[in-house]
């Protein structure tokens, strides 16, 4: 990239994109306060609810609970439902990720590297599940799954979640594979590698970070998916979001237990999110979600 000397100087002297000319520290302070209010405060209140002492309660007008205890955590973790739901969510998440990856890789390659007619139409069709609300997908497939005996089963939930994760995965993989130079692929092919060998020895290693990002996003969206899981799986398949729903939507709202479930739901998400921050780049996320 060639940039003139003046350009560089202006860039250094002026603001990056040119709206706020003032000291950057004001932005930091403003964003800091906003983040505390919208992210920090909710987390603290949720933590307090999960640690509330059932013996003393936490009633208005107390802003902070009078005393804390681990009772709700102990109760939630010793009761079989919640750890069971955690394992179910984990199992479904892993299966959805594997199934999505296997189904998405071949079409992603075709969309990225092969010239064929009606490519735009295929691209649109692949994205269509993003445009139809999840509840319609789930209710529509519900009557089909009824006949196949797949409602209220874990395989049924895996299959219905994959409808929602497949478009993102195809999108991300296609964008990643597009970046693999044609030369290496041709070289491998002309040196006698078959399609599977090309996939294993060239595509997966070279496009690795994109694959990892797509896989992690798929896992995240499966772990947090509610509507399709609820309609196809509940009440027999209980994932963490489904359990959380029962604590919040029933006649009695159970805040402390809901708070514990919230943390169990958030912990793996945030762990993946911050560990993989380098892989889950903004442009990968945007490619997966944004381009229609």
């Amino acid at each position: 990239m060639s940039q003139s000397a003046e350009g560089v100087q202006i860039a250094k002297a002026g603001p990056r994109h040119g709206l706020v000319a003032a000291d950057g520290r004001w932005i930091t302070m403003g964003l800091g306060v906003a983040t505390l209010l919208t992210l920090g405060l909710p987390l603290i209140v949720t933590a307090l609810w999960s640690l509330m002492n059932p013996a003393s309660g936490w009633f208005a007008p107390d802003i902070l609970p009078p005393s804390l205890a681990r009772a709700h955590w102990r109760e939630a973790l010793s009761d079989r439902t919640i750890p069971g739901a955690f394992l179910t969510s984990l199992l479904i998440g892993v299966c959805v990720t594997v199934l999505t990856a296997v189904l998405a890789l071949p079409p992603a390659y075709a969309l990225a590297k092969l010239p064929f007619r009606a490519k735009r139409a295929v691209e649109l069709f692949v994205l269509a599940p993003l445009i139809v609300p999840g509840i319609i997908v789930a209710v529509g497939i519900g009557s089909l799954f009824f006949r196949l005996g797949l409602v209220y089963t874990i395989p049924g939930v895996i299959l219905v979640q994959t409808i929602g994760t497949l478009p993102f995965m195809i999108r991300i993989l296609a964008a990643t594979i597009e970046g693999v130079p044609d030369d290496i692929l041709h070289a491998a092919r002309s040196l006698g590698a078959g399609p599977l060998q090309v996939a294993r020895h060239i595509l997966v290693p070279v496009a690795g970070p994109g694959f990892l990002a797509g896989g992690l996003l798929t896992f995240i969206s499966s772990f947090e998916e509610f509507e399709k899981t609820f309609i196809i799986g509940a009440p027999f398949v209980q994932t963490l979001p489904v359990i959380l729903w029962t604590y919040l939507g029933g006649r009695v709202i159970v805040f402390p237990t809901a708070a514990v479930v919230t943390f169990l739901l958030l912990a793996p998400m945030l762990l993946i999110f911050f560990l993989a921050e380098r892989v889950l780049r903004d442009d990968v996320l945007a490619a997966g979600m944004g381009k229609v």
Partner: protein
């Protein structure tokens, strides 16, 4: 080894993903559209009919539900836009801790909608934290959860949507050629003029894409309005659920699903029209 022709190879490679979606997404959708007109409808064998649409548009609660679903699509999208576009510009500036804030801003992307609903409940429901903090100051919060205007549901949706929009709009803004922005500045445009006349128009494809996806998400919103919204009206998605699993009125359910999908499709077509216009304008420039 015999070599397959390119279209043949493409077809074989497309089969797993596209076939899966055709079978589990396309087919049920087509069946739902047919069922809404009384063709192959479960629990109904009276031949083709418009009765289900007549029931949908003739029942006050369902029409109000459709209006409410549209409200839940429009209002959070508009509010999120007003926050996200300036936020995307702000996050593109250089300031201490930029990387940290960019990462923190994305956290709600991985937070389930139900958790967002739970947070709104603990903070803004009657007797929630916000009310307790404001009470000593003599301030009384209006009803924000299960209220007529669904403010709680809008808050939870906005909380989830802003990071998503900021990400996409920020990406669109980052791909604007820096030289164009700098040229505008050297030619004497102020920061505000540059924002309105250069950055916003060039980032419009990203902005419209984010708007579209947020709108469609709101149209089908189920969990958040169910937990935080008013008792009446209920969004059409909730009516769909109730009619499917409590009343087994599948024809009506299909008519509701078809109507919601049709609205999404109309919005999508409008989106393509707008972006094509933008692209044409970009080419002419």
């Amino acid at each position: 080894m015999t070599r397959l022709s390119v279209p043949m190879t493409a077809a074989i490679l497309l089969l797993p993903g596209a076939g899966y979606l055709a079978l589990l997404f396309g087919l049920p959708l087509v069946l739902a559209v047919l069922a809404s007109f009384g063709v192959l409808t479960r629990g109904y064998d009276g031949g083709p009919t418009l009765a289900f649409y007549a029931e949908l548009f003739g029942t006050r609660a369902y029409v109000d539900g459709l209006v409410f679903s549209t409200y839940l699509a429009l209002v959070p999208t508009a509010v999120s836009l007003m926050i996200s576009v300036p936020l995307a510009v702000l996050l593109a500036q250089s300031f201490p801790g930029r990387r940290l804030f960019t990462a923190l801003n994305k956290v709600p992307l991985v937070v389930p909608g139900i958790v967002a609903a739970f947070i709104v409940m603990t903070l803004f429901d009657r007797g929630g934290t916000a009310a307790r903090v404001l009470a000593p100051l003599g301030l009384d919060l209006p009803k924000l959860v299960r209220d007529d205007w669904a403010i709680g549901a809008v808050m939870a949706t906005v909380w989830k949507t802003v990071p998503f929009m900021t990400l996409i709009v920020g990406g669109a803004m980052a791909s604007i050629n820096r030289d164009v922005v700098l040229a505008a500045r050297t030619l004497g445009a102020g920061p505000v003029a540059t924002f309105w006349q250069i950055q916003i128009p060039l980032a419009l494809p990203g902005i419209t894409a984010a708007t579209l996806l947020s709108f469609i998400g709101g149209m089908g919103a189920f969990a958040v309005p169910n937990l935080l919204g008013p008792v009446y009206p209920l969004p059409l998605s909730v009516h769909m659920y109730v009619n499917a699993f409590e009343r087994a009125n599948w024809g009506l359910v299909a008519a509701m699903g078809t109507t919601l999908s049709a609205i999404s499709c109309v919005v999508l077509l409008a989106y393509y029209r707008v972006t094509r216009g933008l692209r044409a304008a970009g080419g002419a420039r």
